[in-house]
């Protein structure tokens, strides 16, 4: 083992032994010239002040960092920093003002074909894309703040954008005012944890074709259309908050063609539609809370073998909506705020099954404007009649063992 370590030292040189440090003053010879002068392993420190930089290529392993007050300004033209090699660290910088384009993806930090890079503690403002990372692996994007103030959705870009990646971690970032906060397409083995994505124009998280990825402990709040997780298998979604997605095509969480996945201990609060699922199979939903949504869950007829267990539904206008009487999914042992049954044998489980799909929800599914009758007496009467003798609601969509008390 000792020999092995020694061999590694010989190969790469003792870390830090001959690494040099370059201080860059604002308005001097500039970042690009300093990079040209530096060699692999060196550290470049930007001193306080405004450093102009457009499309500066980082083509050797370097650490680039800023002293407090160091600003890298793209002047509204193109991308700012281009990472095209491995082992690059960018930290403690304020990077701002990329160009904006309908057809080109301009980013504060654009990464292509890179491995083992670290981007942390940066402040990124007024950019089309924050981090645009393509065909790269083993990247850590940590504790950055990304904020832009676009109002035109179609020309704005995403906070952290991954297109073909492996083993990428996005953690502790705060992203507001972008198109999508975090955008993943073709990422394998991604970890998205502890981020806050708020008031982005479209999605807080856009997650597509990203097998074996997990996202946990994130907050998605008041994004234009919520969160979309699509066309993926083996996704783990735990302890996230999906809040305040309001509007026509807005979902706290949209699941489309998601297979063999886990949705656990999440909170869906105050959305038009808490979760909409279609074309999804074998999804386990456990320990989630749906509170104060219009629809808590809409589950379409093309979903199969999804299992709802130990979840809490409370204060929703509709607990469950669906578009068919056929129901190949299971609801068992959940807590329903609207449950009016009793528990004579006191085993904590209601003795009367609960039908979470109201007749009125089926009517609204077929004819949305009927929603204006939501609070009418006639509709309440309809719902009571239907719960006594189900004629239109899915007979098999029933919780045979509704919980009497909220699970802890």
């Amino acid at each position: 083992m000792r020999y092995f370590l020694f061999a590694i030292l010989l190969l790469f040189g003792a870390p830090g032994a001959d690494a040099r440090q370059f201080d860059v003053v604002p308005g001097g010879e500039g970042l690009a010239a300093t990079i040209a002068e530096a060699s692999a392993g060196d550290r470049i420190v930007l001193l306080p002040g405004i450093h102009s930089a457009t499309a500066v290529t980082i083509d050797k392993p370097l650490t680039i960092e800023g002293r407090p007050g160091a600003i890298v300004d793209g002047g509204g033209q193109g991308s700012i920093l281009l990472v095209e090699t491995n082992n690059v660290t960018i930290r403690d910088l304020h990077i701002r003002n990329t160009g904006v384009s309908y057809s080109r993806d301009f980013a504060a930090v654009k990464v292509e074909n890179a491995k083992d890079c670290l981007f942390e503690n940066n402040l990124i403002t007024d950019v089309a894309y924050g981090f645009h990372i393509a065909r790269s692996s083993a990247i850590l994007v940590r504790s950055n703040t990304i904020h832009s103030a676009f109002t035109d959705q179609t020309s704005s870009g995403n906070g952290v954008h991954i297109w073909y990646g492996n083993n990428i971690t996005i953690t502790g970032n705060r992203i507001t005012g972008q198109r999508d906060g975090i955008y993943l397409e073709f990422l394998k083995d991604g970890r998205i944890t502890g981020n806050v994505c708020e008031q982005n124009l479209r999605y807080g998280l856009h997650f597509m074709f990203s097998d074996r990825s997990e996202y946990e402990d994130n907050v998605f709040r008041a994004n234009g259309a919520g969160v979309a997780v699509m066309y993926t298998k083996n996704v783990t979604m735990r302890r996230n908050r999906f809040e305040k997605s309001w509007g026509g095509a807005a979902y706290g969480l949209l699941l489309k063609e998601i297979n063999d996945s886990v949705v656990e201990d999440n909170l869906f609060l105050d959305n038009s539609i808490g979760m909409h699922a279609e074309g999804s199979t074998r999804v386990k939903l456990t320990g989630n809370t749906w509170d104060r949504n219009g629809w808590a869950v809409r589950i379409m007829g093309n979903c199969e073998d999804c299992v709802f267990h130990q979840n809490i539904f409370s204060g929703n206008a509709f607990d469950v909506g669906t578009n068919t009487r056929r129901n190949p999914n299971r609801f068992e042992g959940n807590f329903w705020g609207d449950y009016r049954g009793y528990d004579l044998d006191r085993d904590g489980v209601g003795d009367v099954p609960y039908h979470p799909v109201r007749l009125f929800a089926m009517l609204v599914e077929k004819n949305p404007p009927a929603l204006i009758f939501l609070r009418s007496a006639f509709v309440s009467l309809l719902d009571v009649m239907e719960s006594v003798a189900p004629a239109l609601t899915p007979e098999t969509l029933v919780d045979e063992a509704p919980l009497m008390r909220r699970p802890k």
């Binding site: 057809s103 073709f186 597509m208 074709f209 979309a228 026509g248 095509a249 279609e278």
Partner: protein, 142 residues
């Protein structure tokens, strides 16, 4: 009176015209993948035999949706990448390129003429297809 009735007839006719309607980017939901439609270079639309106008976010969603639908189609529309206008799907030329990502992963863009498509092909290496070839290609939402 005659003028009024002419106007009324014109209004009535235009109301039941069965072309596509402009896609409201940033507002409309894709009829196939349910995502909010954002990118004005890639929108597509189907008009069904019943006259329903179904906006979509990409050519690949249009292909999948039409294949899965049991309704007849009156007309299909895609967006010309250069002008961002809707054009008839049957006469468009398509570029499939891994260098030009489209909203649902297939990398397909559409062009009003073969010249425009060839121009794009120089920037984004790939292959050109006509509508028949595109339908036979098996391209879909990845």
């Amino acid at each position: 009176m005659r003028r009024t009735s002419l106007v009324l007839i014109a209004v009535a006719l235009s109301a039941c015209s069965v072309g596509p309607r402009p896609i409201r980017y940033g507002e409309d939901e894709c009829a196939h993948c349910r995502m909010r439609i954002m990118d004005p270079r890639f929108g597509a639309e189907a008009v069904t035999a019943k006259g329903r106008q179904m906006p979509m976010d990409s050519v690949e969603c249009l292909l999948d949706w039409v294949a899965e639908s049991d309704e007849g189609m009156r007309s299909l529309w895609v967006t010309d990448y250069s002008s961002k206008q809707l054009i008839a799907a049957e006469t468009a030329i398509y570029l499939e390129s891994e260098h030009l990502p489209s909203p649902m992963g297939a990398g397909v863009s559409a062009y009003a003429t073969r010249e425009l498509a060839e121009q794009a092909l120089r920037d984004y290496p790939g292959r050109l297809l006509d509508w028949t070839e595109l339908k036979a290609s098996g391209l879909s939402v990845k």
